[in-house]
Amino acid sequence: MSLRHHFGTFLIAAACTVASLSASAHAILIDSTPKLNDTVSAGHVDMVFTYNSKIDQHRSRIVLVKEDKSETVLTIAANNTKPNELDTHADLTPGTYTIRWQALALDGHITRGDVPFTVTP
C-alpha cells in the first residue's frame, strides 16, 4: 500500500469524523457591569464587559433582549486603551433583560454568552 494511500485514507477519515464542540469558551468573560443576575436602577445604564483576551471591538456584537424576546443591537464604543473590553450603554425601563454578547478575540476565535439582569424603578 503506497504512502499516499495511507495519507489519503487517514486525512479523509479524520476530516470526516473528528469533531468538537466549542461549548467551552476561548475568550471568557471575567467581569461585567451589570453582573450576572444583577439588579440595576432604571434610566441610563453604562455597560462594561471585560474579557481575558484582546477583543476585536468593531467586529463583536452586543444585543439587548427584552422580556418579550425583542432584540436591540447596542453600539459598542471603540476603546483602544482597554482592548479586552466591550463598552456600551442603554436607556432602560423596569423589567428583566438579557445581554447576549458575541466576542471576536483578536486571534480569530468567536465566543458568545448571556448576562441576564433586572431593572428596578
Partner: protein
C-alpha cells in the same frame, strides 16, 4: 445565530486540525528537501527520484493548506458577516483574515518555487525557507499568543518555535517514510537515518523548550494542570509526545546500529515511523481543540480540586438498570408543555429545540441514564477485548467477536440521545442540528464501520491487506474524536470531571488502533507483542467506561 456559531465551532476544530497537519507537512517537506533530500541527491542511489517524490508531497501539502485555510477562514468570515452584519471587505481586514490570507499566499508562492526552473538556481534553498518562515509567522497570529494581554512578542516567538518543532519532526516524518520506502541499500539508510535523527532532535528540543514556556504562561501552577480543560488537554498532548519519543528512540537505535555497520531492522523503523505519523496527527487535533478553551491561568474559578476528582472516581458498582424515560428532564418538561397546550387548545411547543444554542435541562435521572449507557458500553468493550484476546490465544471459533460492535452501535444509537427518535419527540433528521447528537452519530457510524470491516477480515470475506487496515485506522480516529468530544453541560466543573475520564479513554483507543496497525504491518516479535497489546487496550477502555461517573 446560535446554531450558526455552534456548527461553526464544531467544524472549525476539524478544519484547524487539518490545517495544522497540512502546514506541518508543508514546512516539514521544505526542511526535508533543503537539508536532507537535495544535499544527498548525488550521495545516495535513487536520490533524484527521492527528491522528486518529496517535492511532490510538499506541493500536495501546500495545496492542502490552501484548501483547508480557505475553507476555515471562509467559514469564519461568513459567520462574522452574518452575525455582526458587516461587509466582506470589512471582515477581510480582521487580523485572523489577514493572517489566513498571508498563509494561503505563502503556500501558493511555494508552488513555483519548488518547480524545476527554480530548483536548479542558487535561490533554490533560500526562497522556500523564507516562504516557510513567513507562513509560520502568520500562523502564530491565529494562536492564543496574539490575543493575550501581556508578553505578546515572547509568546508569539514561543508559539512559532513550537510549530517549527512540530513541523521539522512530525511534519517531516511522511518524507522520512517515503525515503525509507524508496531506498534499498544500507549506505543510503545510514545517511538519511542519521540526518533525520538530528533534525528530529532539533524538533524535540524546540517542542520541549516552547512547551515548558507556554505551560508557565498558560497553565501557571499544578492545579491549573489537572483542574482545567486546558491543563487536561496539555496532559494528553504530553502523553502522546512521550509515545512519539519512545518510537523515535527505537528508530534512533536502528540508525545507530546502521551507523556501526551492524544488522538492523529497517522495516521496523518504517513501521514505527508510520505509527509516529498517526499519533502525531492525533496530537495535532488535540492541539486544535486546545484553541477552543481558555488558558488555565484565566480560569481562576470553576477549577476542579484533587478531592473532587477522588470523590467522583471512588469505586462504585456499575449502574446496570436504567431510569424510566418519562423521568428525564426533557420528557417531564415536554409533558408539562403538552398539558398546558391541551388546556389552551393549542399545539404544544418542543421542550428542546435542537441547534437553538440553549443547553438542555438535566436532572438526577438524566445522569443515571448517561451512566447506564457508559457502563453497558464498558461491558461491551471489555467483552470485545477479552474475546479478541482469547481468539489471539487460539480459540478459532471466536473470530466473530467484531459483531459485538454492531450490537453496541445499535445500543448507542437508541440510547445516546433519549430526546430524539425513536425514544423522544425530536425527529431523526432535525436532530442533526444538535452538535452533540451529530457527534454521537459519527461515533455510531465509526463503530459500525470498523466492526463490519474487522468481521469481514477475520472471517475471510475480505482478503485485501488494505481492508485489514481500516479497523486500526478508524479505531485511532475514534480515539482522536474522543479527545475533542464535549458534553453539553453548563456546569464547567462537571464537564471537566467527565473529560478527565474521556481523555484516558481516548489515549487507550489511540494506543489500541496503532498497536493493531503494528500487528498487521510489523513482522516478527514486535508484531506479535503488538497483537497482545491492543486487546488489552480495549479491555482497559472497558474498565474505564465501567468506572465512569457523572455525579
Amino acid at each position: 445565530m446560535e446554531l450558526l456559531v455552534d456548527i461553526f465551532g464544531y467544524l472549525s476544530i476539524i478544519l484547524h486540525g487539518v490545517t495544522i497537519i497540512a502546514q506541518s507537512m508543508m514546512l516539514g517537506g521544505i526542511l526535508f528537501l533543503v537539508f536532507l533530500a537535495r544535499p544527498f541527491t548525488h550521495l545516495i542511489t535513487q536520490g533524484d527520484d527521492l527528491e522528486r517524490r518529496v517535492t511532490r508531497l510538499t506541493l500536495y501539502s501546500a495545496i492542502g493548506l490552501i484548501l483547508a485555510e480557505m475553507t476555515g477562514v471562509g467559514l469564519q468570515i461568513a459567520v462574522v458577516m452574518s452575525t455582526v452584519d458587516l461587509g466582506f471587505l470589512d471582515v477581510m481586514q480582521a487580523p485572523f483574515a489577514i493572517a489566513g490570507t498571508v498563509k494561503m499566499l505563502c503556500a501558493l508562492l511555494l508552488i513555483p518555487c519548488l518547480g524545476q526552473r527554480v530548483a536548479t538556481r542558487s535561490l533554490a534553498a533560500v526562497l522556500p525557507l523564507l516562504i516557510g518562515a513567513a507562513e509560520l509567522t502568520a500562523a502564530t497570529f491565529t494562536t492564543h499568543a496574539y490575543a493575550r494581554l501581556d508578553d505578546n512578542v515572547l509568546l508569539l516567538f514561543v508559539e512559532g518555535l513550537h510549530q517549527f518543532g512540530a513541523a521539522i519532526w512530525v511534519g517531516a516524518i511522511p518524507c522520512f517514510v517515503l525515503a525509507l520506502g524508496r531506498l534499498h541499500d544500507a549506505h543510503s539508510w545510514r545517511l538519511v537515518g542519521a540526518r533525520f535523527s538530528r533534525m528530529s532532535m532539533i524538533g524535540v528540543t524546540s517542542i520541549v523548550i516552547s512547551g515548558a514556556v507556554m505551560s508557565f504562561f498558560y497553565i501557571g501552577n499544578w492545579q491549573g494542570f489537572y483542574g482545567t480543560a486546558y491543563g487536561v488537554m496539555v496532559g494528553a498532548k504530553i502523553a502522546m509526545f512521550l509515545a512519539l519519543l519512545a518510537l523515535g528512540a527505537g528508530n534512533l537505535m536502528v540508525t545507530e546500529r546502521l551507523r556501526k555497520n551492524q544488522d538492523a531492522s529497517v522495516i521496523r523503523m518504517r513501521r514505527f515511523a508510520e505509527v509516529e505519523i498517526g499519533i502525531g496527527f492525533t496530537l495535532f487535533f488535540a492541539a486544535a481543540s486546545l484553541t477552543s478553551v481558555p488558558p488555565a491561568v484565566d480560569l481562576s474559578t470553576d477549577r476542579v480540586t484533587l478531592h473532587e476528582i477522588a470523590v467522583r472516581n471512588a469505586p462504585a458498582w456499575p449502574r446496570l438498570t436504567s431510569p424510566d424515560h418519562d423521568k428525564l428532564a426533557i420528557s417531564q418538561m415536554q409533558a408539562r408543555l403538552d398539558t398546558q397546550a391541551q388546556q389552551r387548545g393549542q399545539v404544544a411547543a418542543q421542550a428542546n429545540v435542537p441547534g437553538s444554542g440553549v443547553l438542555p435541562p438535566r436532572n438526577a435521572d438524566d445522569i443515571a441514564w448517561s451512566e447506564y449507557n457508559h457502563h453497558w458500553a464498558g461491558i461491551f468493550v471489555l467483552l470485545i477485548g477479552f474475546l479478541a484476546l482469547l481468539h489471539r490465544a487460539g480459540v478459532g471459533w471466536l473470530k466473530h467477536w467484531p459483531l459485538l460492535f454492531l450490537l453496541m452501535a445499535g445500543f448507542l444509537l437508541v440510547r445516546s440521545d433519549p430526546e430524539v427518535w425513536p425514544m423522544g419527540n425530536e425527529g431523526f433528521w432535525v436532530a442533526w442540528r444538535d452538535v452533540e447528537v451529530t457527534q454521537h452519530r459519527f461515533f455510531v457510524a465509526l463503530i459500525m464501520l470498523f466492526g463490519l470491516f474487522e468481521w469481514a477480515v477475520r472471517t475471510g470475506r475480505l482478503r485485501s491487506a488494505k481492508a485489514a487496515l481500516v479497523f486500526p485506522l478508524l479505531v485511532s480516529v475514534g480515539g482522536a474524536m474522543l479527545l475533542t468530544h464535549n458534553h453539553q453541560i453548563s456546569n464547567v466543573k462537571d464537564q471537566l470531571l467527565i473529560e478527565l475520564t474521556h481523555t484516558p479513554l481516548a489515549l487507550a483507543g489511540v494506543s489500541a488502533g496503532w498497536a493493531r496497525w503494528l500487528e498487521l504491518r510489523l513482522p516478527g516479535r514486535g508484531g506479535r507483542i503488538a497483537g497482545w497489546v491492543w486487546p488489552i487496550c480495549f479491555m482497559l477502555v472497558g474498565v474505564i467506561l465501567l468506572w465512569y461517573r457523572e455525579a
